[in-house]
């Protein structure tokens, strides 16, 4: 079954920037797709378009068969309930406890306002919060305030909040970009495990090629708003990735990743 299909998608911003040019791909239920591409390649625009935070200029996006580009508010809310998002900056409410933040994740699923407050939430929902936190191995921090946690812990709390939604589809936008390599690896392996055990479709953008090759089953590479790679991970070679990040093709831009690459080789030498 097709979980997501994007067809001939164009996005042109009012300032004339063409963020996406004729992007087409389909993702099957249960696939784990990594989206790679330098800054400004259109990854974020594509992401925001999938949940209609951004309106496409032309083309079609279908999530679970529902056309997003023309969906009304009600239809859109139904789709959003099925899609769990993970953000680079976590987007939790820092002055609240871990428990409260995770509870909020179920607000879309539960219409009764009683279930929205820690004091009045039914016991089964409270227990579900505990389960979701146990899944990310943080149940012992349930009463802590989020602003006392480390970056890696905070991202795992955000994943627990997303699990409260019981998503069929996870979109993760650079989920490890703010984390150190060890915490980043923990978060990526957690996402991979969750995806495998619940057969959830995942699309994850990354800047770390090593994580992409380790956790991705399929790699899509964007460059200048176009798809330049779309293949199973075992068919990906370094030459293909060079196309993605080679600054010779784009002399006017200095790429952050390239700089990182230079820095690494400089340290090695």
């Amino acid at each position: 079954m097709t979980a997501l299909s994007v067809e001939n998608l164009y996005k042109r911003y009012p300032n004339g920037t063409e963020a996406l040019k004729n992007v087409s791909f389909a993702v099957e239920q249960g696939e784990f797709v990594i989206l790679l591409g330098p800054n400004g390649s259109g990854k974020s625009t594509l992401f925001r378009a999938i949940v209609a935070l951004e309106t496409a200029t032309k083309g079609s996006i279908r999530v679970d068969g529902v056309e997003i580009t023309t969906a009304g508010n009600t239809a859109l809310r139904e789709v959003r309930k099925k899609v769990g998002l993970v953000f680079q900056k976590f987007n939790l409410i820092k002055n609240l406890t871990v428990f409260h933040n995770v509870l909020i994740g179920a607000m879309g699923k539960n219409h009764s306002p009683l279930s929205w407050f820690p004091a009045s939430a039914p016991q089964n929902i409270r227990l579900k919060v505990l389960e979701c936190l146990e899944r990310v191995k943080l149940s012992h921090l349930i009463q802590q305030r989020v602003d006392t946690l480390s970056g890696g812990q905070t991202q795992r709390v955000a994943i627990a909040r997303m699990l409260m939604q019981e998503p069929e589809f996870i979109l993760a936008d650079e989920p490890v970009a703010s984390l150190d390599p060890k915490s980043g690896d923990d978060v990526m392996s957690l996402l991979a495990e969750i995806a495998a055990e619940k057969k959830i479709t995942v699309i994850c953008t990354l800047h770390q090629i090593d994580f992409a090759l380790k956790y991705g089953k399929r790699i899509i590479g964007l460059r200048g708003g176009q798809i330049v790679i779309d293949d199973k991970v075992e068919n990906i070679n370094s030459q293909m990735l060079n196309v993605l990040y080679d600054s010779e093709l784009d002399r006017n831009r200095v790429d952050q990743d390239e700089l990182t690459g230079f820095a690494k080789s400089a340290v090695g030498a």
Partner: protein, 268 residues
Amino acid sequence: MNNKAELNEEMLPARYKKLSPFVWLGLVVFLALFLHGMVIGELTPERMIRGIGRLNDFLHQAFPPKLDRLPNILKATLDTFEMALVGTVFGAILSLPAALLAAKNTSPHPVVYYLARFSIAFLRAVPDLVWGLIFLVIVGLGPGAGILAIIVDVISFCGRFFAERIEEIEKGSIEALRMTGVSSLGVVIGAIIPSALPSFVATTMFSLESSVRSAVVLGVVGAGGVGVELSTSMQLLRYDEAFTIILVIFAAVIGTERISSIIRKSFI
């Protein structure tokens, strides 16, 4: 070193900047108003010196403070505090919807935003004592008028600061909740109120402190409480009794500030 000879005085900045005619006009107006203010104040040195003698008389008559009516005074002070409390609670509750309409990121429409901002600014432009006089006409003498005036005063203060706090909330945490398919009401309850609550509480507590002072003054014009007691004692020249009232008001205001600061600290 060798181009030192090329230096000349013309390269120095001017000692004074030339002022534009508007600035001159402004200075003249300011000076005129200031001098006229001094004249109508008539705070001449001899008058000040005579005043010191009268202050001595006042203090002489005020000491020792007369405690006969202390129970009545305490009761009236409690009334004043309760006026401030009720007014602040209703004011803070009503400030929340007003602030949601007056914050850029939650207002449903730019027109609504400007209307809400303008209304809150209008409430603030009219002093609380004037609101008190208006409500005295509408609902008659007594604490009711004072409470209504305080509600308006609190909305004018909290409405503005609540709105500013709402505008500071990280866009991401609001977006994250909206993207789980939650309604606008859900976003307000789940993300906006919890993120801003510490600041809302602090603003409300500041507002309570100022409301207690307002409530005393509103009493003087007839809105009940200890203000009425004070104005009566002063008019009947019972300065010893008035002094007791002033001490009690002092204690009530300081007490409110202490409690307010403790509550604010516990909500950070």
